[in-house]
Symmetry: C2
Subunit: 210 residues, 2 copies
């Protein structure tokens, strides 16, 4: 079966750089990718709810058990993304005396550009689904809360506070909330705006209020 090379994705990236992983690991990666591809395809054809895990398993040529072994929930097949650690690293790399929101602006812009040029299709399909499917929105917000905790750690380092400090946590969460809402807004308006610009405006609003 000829693999499509038209869409570039994190998956395909991961496929490429196989620095001599054992056969076992390579197969695992392939299965993971196959499940995700099948999922995205089926959902595009039938919609999220109409697509059952059984169908996904069949399309990916694995058993349903295997699907659940790779992804804890159906939502995760769609939503899992791997940008958090990258963003944390970038954030730590910024000069320590730079105002926090400036750092965030830079990092968010960079990560967004990276994501947009790297896997634009997935990004659009994912955010579209976010608008359409409540279950996915809920799950997304959960992962947003997780990301917020990561951000807390970095902010704590910067400000000399605890990562459990109320102010740190509130600030992180309100930033993440802002970014989330912006993403939804972008998708609602059919991705016609420049996401980077929207995010810039969002962070500006967080900083200066209405």
């Amino acid at each position: 079966m000829p693999a499509t090379h038209r869409t570039r994705s994190l998956d395909s990236l991961a496929e490429d750089m196989q620095p001599q992983l054992g056969l076992r690991e390579r197969k695992k990666l392939k299965t993971r990718v196959a499940i995700r591809r099948a999922t995205y395809r089926l959902i595009a054809e039938q919609g999220y709810e109409a697509t059952t895990v059984e169908q996904i398993a069949e399309a990916a040529e694995v058993s349903p058990s295997t699907v659940f072994r790779y992804f804890p929930t159906k939502e995760d097949i769609v939503l899992t993304d791997e940008y958090d650690p990258i963003m944390v690293a970038e954030l730590r790399a910024r000069p320590a005396d730079e105002p926090v929101l400036d750092s965030l602006r830079h990092v968010v812009a960079k990560a967004t550009r990276l994501a947009l040029e790297h896997e634009p299709d997935e990004m659009i399909q994912r955010t579209t689904l976010l608008v359409q499917v409540p279950a996915l929105r809920a799950r997304m917000m959960q992962s947003m809360a997780l990301t917020s905790r990561l951000l807390c750690t970095v902010l704590a380092e910067r400000t000399g506070r605890t990562e459990n400090d109320l102010e740190v946590r509130v600030f992180s969460m309100s930033v993440l909330g802002a970014l989330y809402e912006t993403t939804v807004y972008w998708a609602e308006r059919d991705h016609e705006d420049e996401l980077v610009d929207l995010l810039e405006r969002a962070l500006h609003t967080v900083q200066n209020g209405l």
Copy 2:
């Protein structure tokens, strides 16, 4: 069966003020209350996941079908709260030239005090569950997003913008995110702080940054 009058709740409040509702409506209210009481009791005894809807139905002396007729999901039995419309009304009642965050401070403080004096037990149990059960957190955040849209409407009126304005939406969401995180923080620290004070600090942080 003698009803406990030790705990004051919205439910019991609603029970009291029955300004001549028909028998039908009164029965509906009673069923609703029975389901919720049973749920809270069972969850306190066994935990959230271990409690099945069937058990709840049995304890509330209704059929499972009826439970689902009253609450769309198991999560909703625990989480449904009715403060949103009150807060919106209060917010509209504030002077139009008052800075938005000042209005919010007042309204949030008032609603919180009301809730705390009125149904402290439910509030504590609910927020405790919020910390323990991921599914409830997710659902809570979803309802937070809904509340955010309400807030958007009010903010739009105030600022002369659209309720779909990016800045309005981002601001609403970041405020709500802040309030949510504060609630979780409160519960995580075993409700030992004064929630009103924490919320005040949270809104201060939203206004002035870290």
